[in-house]
């Protein structure tokens, strides 16, 4: 059941949960389930793991809601819990998959959607393959979640400076990987930037769907 007041902030909903409202927590689940699932799936590459970890994170958040300080933002707190659940998971199962990111129904032109999805999927698969857990998390929280460095630092329990260093190293690594792999070229209209998706990550069936880039 969804709350009728969508204008309530996450922090207010968390405060109501602390007071015993399960409905308030369910609203938080509605707001964050897709975000957490995407974050976990992008890193693990497994639907089952992503489901389990998303569920684990929400249960941990519900159990520990009394520790949340409503004076602070809810998102970094929740991502921090999720990240720790992922760390525990990776201790048992290291990252080793190139499964593409899950798809989403979109009413636009299928070729445009496919091209966008290709870029999105490939860049994060490359990140998953190349970056450390911390680098990946920092990069995801910055570019996908649009969190400011201060909140990323809180979510990762690191200093702002450390997060900036992580982001810098993550970008440098990704850049090296992108420049090293020249097998596929996808002209994608990102401000005139062409994106070459990594060979190993590109499904054979979609090769003909996007024009090749000719410098």
């Amino acid at each position: 059941m969804r709350l009728e007041s969508p204008e309530l902030s996450d922090e207010e909903l968390a405060r109501q949960t602390q007071a015993g409202s399960l409905v308030a927590f369910e609203e938080l689940v509605y707001r964050y389930e897709a975000r957490l699932y995407r974050f976990v799936f992008a890193r693990t590459g497994h639907d089952t793991d992503a489901r389990d970890l998303t569920q684990t994170a929400f249960v941990a958040a519900y159990r520990g809601i009394s520790r949340f300080n409503p004076q602070r933002r809810f998102a970094p707190w929740l991502f921090s819990i999720t990240r720790h659940a992922m760390i525990d998971h990776f201790r048992a199962t290291p990252v080793a998959t190139d499964e593409p990111l899950p798809t989403l129904l979109d009413p636009r032109d299928p070729s445009v959607v496919l091209a966008e999805r290709e870029t999105h999927s490939a860049i994060w698969q490359l990140a998953r393959r190349t970056l450390t857990n911390d680098q990946f998390a920092a990069l995801w929280l910055k570019y996908e979640e649009d969190l400011p460095v201060k909140d990323i630092a809180r979510a990762m329990r690191k200093t702002g400076l450390h997060v900036k260093v992580l982001l810098h190293r993550a970008r440098q690594k990704l850049l090296r990987e992108l420049n090293a792999d020249r097998a596929f070229v996808v002209s994608h209209g990102v401000g005139g930037v062409a994106f070459r998706s990594p060979t190993a990550l590109r499904p054979e069936t979609t090769r003909g769907c996007v024009p090749d880039y000719k410098p």
Partner: protein, 129 residues
């Protein structure tokens, strides 16, 4: 051959935010809420207890730092009588050893004389043996 610059990568990553977002499985919400309903939230600890915990932890860390950082306090000087007693005891021990070794030395000297006499005798009578 074109190479990507940092700006290119920045644009790619920023653009990926606008790309179609993956949707979670439809039954995920139900699974989460079922698990949440079975979980019990931890009781909220009063602020005083929370602060007390922090205060105790801080005090423990401070005490540890004091033990580690501060130099150990020096022991007070021993009484003078004790410091004199030690050489006296050493002197007594040495005297005792001397008393014990003196008769032994006399005996050794006597044995050496006997040995020398026996040797002289042997040397003198060697041709006739």
């Amino acid at each position: 051959m074109n190479r990507y610059s940092t700006d290119d990568l920045e644009q790619l990553l920023s653009k990926s935010r606008q790309a179609p977002r993956a949707s979670p499985p439809v039954d995920l919400h139900g699974d989460i809420m079922r698990a949440v309903r079975q979980a019990q939230p931890e009781p909220q600890r009063p602020v005083v207890i929370r602060n007390l915990g922090w205060a105790l932890a801080s005090a423990a860390i401070l005490a540890l730092a004091v033990v580690i950082v501060l130099p150990p306090r020096q022991q007070p000087h021993e009484p003078v009588a004790l410091s004199v007693e030690e050489p006296l005891n050493t002197a007594r021990t040495l005297a005792q050893q001397l008393r014990t070794s003196a008769p032994l030395q006399d005996e050794a000297t006597s044995l050496a004389d006997d040995a020398r006499t026996a040797a002289d005798f042997l040397l003198a009578n060697l041709p006739s043996i």
